[in-house]
C-alpha cells in the first residue's frame, strides 16, 4: 500500500512521463530493427542519461527495454524476422497469420498481450519483489542446469513431424553454442585464432540468417511472380470471443515470464519458447498452432514483456544484472552514483518509486505508440516484393553490422542464411536450432560448474532439490511427447504436431 501511494506521486511528474514515452518509442523502433537487440537500443541512449536526473535516466532506460521487447514482434510477424531473440517464438504463428492476410490482427494481439505482460510484470515487481528474490537466490548451478534441460525438452514439440530432423537441428544449435571461450577453463574453442569469435556467436546473427536471409533466398529463387498478400494497413484488436480464448495463453505467459524473468541468466527467450509450448499443450485448438494460431502469438509476447519487468527483481534486490539489457540498466544506476542492491530502497527509495511510475506510464505508452506506429509498418511491408526484399536486405545487413561494427558478423549471418536455405529445402525445422543455440551455453556451463563443485560427483544433480524437481518435470515432458508420438503411430493417426517451415 505504501508502495502504491509513493508511486502515485510520480505518476503526474512530467519528467517521468516524458522519459517513459521517449524510452518506449525509441525501444519499439530499436526492437523492430532486426539485429538491434534491446541492449544495443538501451546502450545507444546511455550517453544521453549522464545529464538527466537519476529518476528520469532510469525510467528512460527501463522503458526502452519494455518497448524493445515488444518491438521485436513487429518484424517477426511482418517479415518473418525476429527483431529480438525473445520474439523468435512469435515468428511461427505471427508470420503465418500475416500470410493469411491477418497482419493487422496479429499485430493487435501481440500489442495488447505485450501490454498485459508489462502490467502484470510490473504488479509482480511492485508487490512480490521480496519473495521472488528469494526464489532467485535459491537457484544453484545445478538448478540452472536443470532449468536449461527443461527448456530443451521443448524441442520434442518444436520438431514438427520428424523428431529426428528436429534433434539434428537442435544439435546444430548446440554445436554453434560451443564456439568461443570455454565457460570453465577460459580456453578458446573453435575460434581458429580469430578474436571476433572469442566471445562466441551472438544468437541474433544466426536467427536473422536462418529466418530472414533464408526467406530472401527462397524469394529470389522463385521464378514466377510471388503471390502478394495485401493486408489492410489497420491494426485490429481481437473481438470478445477471441479475447476470451487468448486469456489462458496470456496467463501461461504471465506465469512463466514472471518465473524466468527473476532468474538471472534465464531470460526472455526461454520464457517465450516455454510459454508457446505450454499454451499449445493446454489449448483447446492445439492443431492450429503453426498454422496461424492467435494463442501462438499471445503466449510468447505476454511472456517476454513480463520478463522485461520481473528481470528488474534481481537487479534491484541484489544489484545483479541477469541479462545484457539489465547490465546496461545497472550502468545507468552506477553513472548516477546509485548502487542497486539490498540498500537501494533505504538509500534511494524515490528513484525506485519513480521507476515504478515510469514503467506504468511506459506500459500505457506502449499501447498508444504501438497503435500509431503499426499502420505505417504494415503499409511498408505491402510495397511491391522486389523493393521490399531489397529494403529488408539492407535492414538486416545494417542491423547485424551495428552489433559490433564488424563486417565479419555479416559473413556469419549470410552463412547462417545459406544454412537456413538448405534446411528449408530439406524440411528441417529452425526452432530447435535456435533453442539449442540459446540454451547450449547455459546448460553446458552450469553442468560443468556443478561437476567442478562436487568434484565430478553426479549425485549433486539429485541432491539439489530444485534441480531434481526440474529434471523430473523435463523427463515427464519428454516421455509424454514421445509416448504420444508412438500412440499416434500405432493408431496410424497423423501426428497433430506441426511444421513451422512448411512450404505450401
Amino acid at each position: 500500500m505504501e508502495t502504491l501511494t509513493h508511486t502515485a506521486a510520480f505518476l503526474f511528474d512530467w519528467h517521468v512521463i516524458l522519459a517513459a514515452l521517449i524510452g518506449v518509442t525509441w525501444g519499439i523502433m530499436g526492437g523492430a530493427l532486426p539485429g538491434i537487440s534491446p541492449s544495443i537500443t538501451m546502450a545507444l541512449l546511455l550517453p544521453f542519461t549522464y545529464t538527466l536526473d537519476p529518476t528520469s535516466a532510469i525510467v528512460l532506460l527501463a522503458s526502452t527495454y519494455i518497448g524493445a521487447e515488444y518491438g521485436g514482434s513487429v518484424p517477426a510477424i511482418l517479415i518473418r524476422t525476429p527483431g529480438t531473440n525473445a520474439a523468435a517464438a512469435t515468428v511461427i504463428d505471427g508470420y503465418e497469420m500475416n500470410r493469411q492476410g491477418k497482419a493487422g490482427l496479429a499485430l493487435g494481439i501481440s500489442l495488447y498481450s505485450g501490454v498485459i505482460g508489462s502490467l502484470f510484470g510490473l504488479a509482480m515487481l511492485m508487490t512480490l519483489s521480496g519473495p521472488l528474490a528469494k526464489v532467485a537466490l535459491a537457484f544453484t548451478p545445478m538448478a540452472y542446469f536443470a532449468l536449461g534441460i527443461l527448456g530443451l525438452s521443448v524441442i520434442a514439440t518444436l520438431s514438427g513431424e520428424n523428431l529426428v530432423k528436429g534433434l539434428i537441428a537442435a544439435i546444430l544449435g548446440l554445436i554453434i553454442a560451443t564456439i568461443g571461450s570455454d565457460p570453465v577453463t577460459g580456453g578458446t574453442r573453435f575460434t581458429f585464432g580469430s578474436a571476433e569469435l572469442l566471445g562466441g556467436i551472438e544468437p541474433v546473427m544466426i536467427m536473422v540468417g536462418l529466418f530472414a536471409m533464408s526467406e530472401l533466398l527462397v524469394q529470389a529463387s522463385k521464378r514466377e511472380q510471388d503471390e502478394r498478400v495485401t493486408s489492410r494497413p489497420r491494426i485490429q484488436f481481437p473481438d470478445w470471443p477471441l479475447a476470451k480464448r487468448l486469456i489462458p495463453a496470456q496467463i501461461i505467459g504471465n506465469g512463466i515470464g514472471t518465473f524466468e524473468g527473476v532468474m538471472p541468466g534465464a531470460g526472455g527467450t526461454i520464457a517465450s519458447f516455454m510459454s508457446y509450448n505450454e499454451a499449445r499443450r493446454w489449448s483447446r485448438h492445439p492443431e492450429e498452432f503453426g498454422k496461424g494460431s492467435p494463442e501462438g502469438i499471445a503466449a510468447p509476447e505476454t511472456a517476454n514483456n513480463t520478463v522485461a519487468e520481473t528481470a528488474l527483481v534481481p537487479l534491484l534486490s541484489f544489484g545483479i544484472p541477469g541479462s545484457n539489457s539489465t547490465a546496461i540498466l545497472l550502468g545507468g544506476f552506477l553513472i548516477h552514483g546509485i548502487v542497486p542492491g539490498p540498500m537501494l530502497f533505504q538509500k534511494s527509495g524515490e528513484v525506485v518509486y519513480g521507476l515504478y511510475a515510469g514503467l506504468f506510464t511506459a506500459a500505457i505508452g506502449q499501447l498508444l505508440i504501438g497503435m500509431a506506429m503499426l499502420p505505417v509498418c504494415i503499409w511498408l511491408v505491402n510495397r511491391p516484393r522486389p523493393y521490399l526484399n531489397a529494403f529488408i536486405f539492407a535492414l538486416i545487413l545494417s542491423g547485424i553490422y551495428s552489433i559490433h561494427n564488424e563486417a565479419f558478423d555479416l559473413g556469419i549471418m549470410i552463412a547462417a542464411g545459406m544454412l537456413g536455405f538448405f534446411m528449408r529445402m530439406l524440411r528441417f525445422p529452425f526452432l530447435p536450432t535456435v533453442l539449442g543455440l540459446v540454451l547450449g551455453y547455459l546448460v553446458e556451463s552450469n553442468f560443468r560448474r556443478s561437476l567442478v563443485l562436487s568434484g565430478d560427483d553426479w549425485m549433486i544433480f539429485v541432491d539439489d532439490r530444485i534441480s531434481l524437481g526440474l529434471l523430473i518435470l523435463a523427463f515427464l515432458f519428454i516421455g509424454g511427447s514421445i509416448a504420444k508420438r508412438i500412440y499416434d503411430l500405432v493408431r496410424h493417426r497423423p501426428t497433430s504436431t506441426f511444421s513451422e517451415s512448411a512450404e505450401s
Binding site: 546511455l46 544453484t140 577460459g186 542492491g341 568434484g455
Partner: protein, 317 residues
C-alpha cells in the same frame, strides 16, 4: 621510484623546452581521444568518462571518449597500434587487454602498445556470506584443508581466478575454483552457500556489505584499504599473494617525451583534484599513479606472469 620519475620528467621538460620554448606548457594536439573496448556503462567506460570530465584543464586539450567494442579489446588494440604516436589517442588498459592478447593471439597485442601511466588499482577482496560460519580467511582455508573447499571466481580467464589459484598454491589446500559468467552469478552462489568465498571488486558488492549480507575476509591489495582499515591483507594472513588490478592508459609505440611528460604531470594533478577524488573514492578506486617508466615494466611483468599462469592451468599452450 619517485626519484626516477623526477629525473625522467625533468629530462622530458628540458627536451620539450629546448624544442619549443614558447610552447613548453602546451599539449601538442587539441583533442585527445580515449578509447575503451568496454560498452557504454561498463567499467572502463565509466572510468574514462569520469576522467574526461576533470582532465581537460590539467592536460590542456579536449578529452573525448570513444567505445571501440569487438573481440574483447582486439579491435581497439589494432586501431591503437596503427594510430599516429602524437598523443592524440590512448586506450584504457585493464588486465583484460593482456588476457585477450594471450588468449586469442590477435594481430595486434598488448606488446604492440606502449603503456603510458597508471591511474588506479581496483582492490580485489575475498568475501563470504554473513550467515556463514567463516570469520577469517584462515577459517576458510582450514575448511578446505579438512575437506574440499569451493571458491568462486567471476570469469574463467580472469585475474580473480589467477588470484585464487595462487592462494590455493600458497596455502597448499585442495579447493575447487569455480568460474562464473560474471560477478553477479558468483555472488548468488556465495549468498546461497554453494561457495564458501568469492573474489571481487569492492564496488560490485558494496550494497551487500552495507546491508550486512556479505562479510569481507581479506583484501588482495599490498596494503590495507582506507575504507576498511580493519580488513587484513592476504599477505598479512600468511599467504604471499598480492593482486593488482590496474587501470591506466596506453598509446601507440614511440610516444614523444613531451606527451609523456604532459600526461605524468596532468595525471598527478587530476588525481589530487578534490572533486575527482571524491568521485573515484566513492567508487572504491585507489589512486596509484605509476609514471611511464614504471608502468612499462609493470605491464611487462604482469604479462609474463599471466602467460605463465595461463600455461600452467592449461588454458594456452
Amino acid at each position: 621510484m619517485h626519484k626516477l620519475y623526477f629525473v625522467s620528467a625533468a629530462a622530458a621538460a628540458v627536451l620539450a623546452g629546448g624544442l619549443a620554448v614558447a610552447q613548453a606548457q602546451e599539449y601538442p594536439v587539441d583533442t585527445v581521444t580515449l578509447v575503451t573496448h568496454s560498452s557504454p556503462g561498463g567499467g572502463s567506460d565509466v572510468f574514462l568518462r569520469e576522467l574526461s570530465r576533470y582532465l581537460s584543464p590539467y592536460l590542456g586539450a579536449n578529452v573525448i571518449v570513444e567505445n571501440i567494442s569487438g573481440g574483447s579489446g582486439a579491435k581497439a588494440m589494432a586501431q591503437l597500434a596503427q594510430a599516429p604516436a602524437d598523443g592524440s589517442i590512448f586506450y584504457a588498459t585493464t588486465p583484460t587487454f593482456i588476457y585477450t592478447s594471450l588468449l586469442s593471439e590477435p594481430e595486434y597485442k598488448y606488446t604492440d602498445l606502449e603503456p603510458l601511466v597508471n591511474f588506479f588499482i581496483d582492490p580485489e577482496v575475498i568475501y563470504t556470506s554473513a550467515k556463514s560460519e567463516f570469520k577469517t580467511l584462515e577459517d576458510v582455508i582450514q575448511y578446505a584443508r579438512d575437506g574440499r573447499g569451493q571458491w568462486g571466481a567471476a570469469n574463467p580467464a580472469s585475474l580473480e581466478r589467477q588470484a585464487l589459484e595462487q592462494l590455493k598454491a600458497a596455502s597448499g589446500v585442495n579447493a575447487a575454483v569455480v568460474t562464473h559468467e560474471g560477478g553477479g552469478d558468483m555472488m548468488i552462489n556465495v549468498l546461497n552457500g554453494t561457495l564458501q568465498i568469492g573474489v571481487g571488486e569492492v564496488q560490485e558488492i558494496q550494497s551487500q556489505i552495507e546491508a550486512g549480507e556479505l562479510r569481507l575476509l581479506a583484501t588482495f591489495s599490498d596494503q590495507r584499504l582506507d575504507a576498511f582499515p580493519d580488513l587484513p591483507t592476504v599477505k598479512e594472513s600468511g599467504y604471499d599473494v598480492v593482486v593488482r588490478k590496474f587501470r591506466g592508459l596506453a598509446g601507440p609505440k614511440g610516444l614523444p617525451d613531451d606527451v609523456v611528460a604532459a600526461w605524468e604531470a596532468a595525471t598527478q594533478k587530476v588525481l589530487a583534484d578534490p572533486k575527482y577524488k571524491e568521485a573515484y573514492e566513492g567508487a572504491n578506486l585507489r589512486a596509484e599513479f605509476m609514471p611511464h617508466v614504471d608502468y612499462v615494466t609493470f605491464i611487462e611483468t604482469f604479462g609474463t606472469e599471466t602467460a605463465d599462469f595461463l600455461k600452467k592451468t592449461g588454458v594456452i599452450e
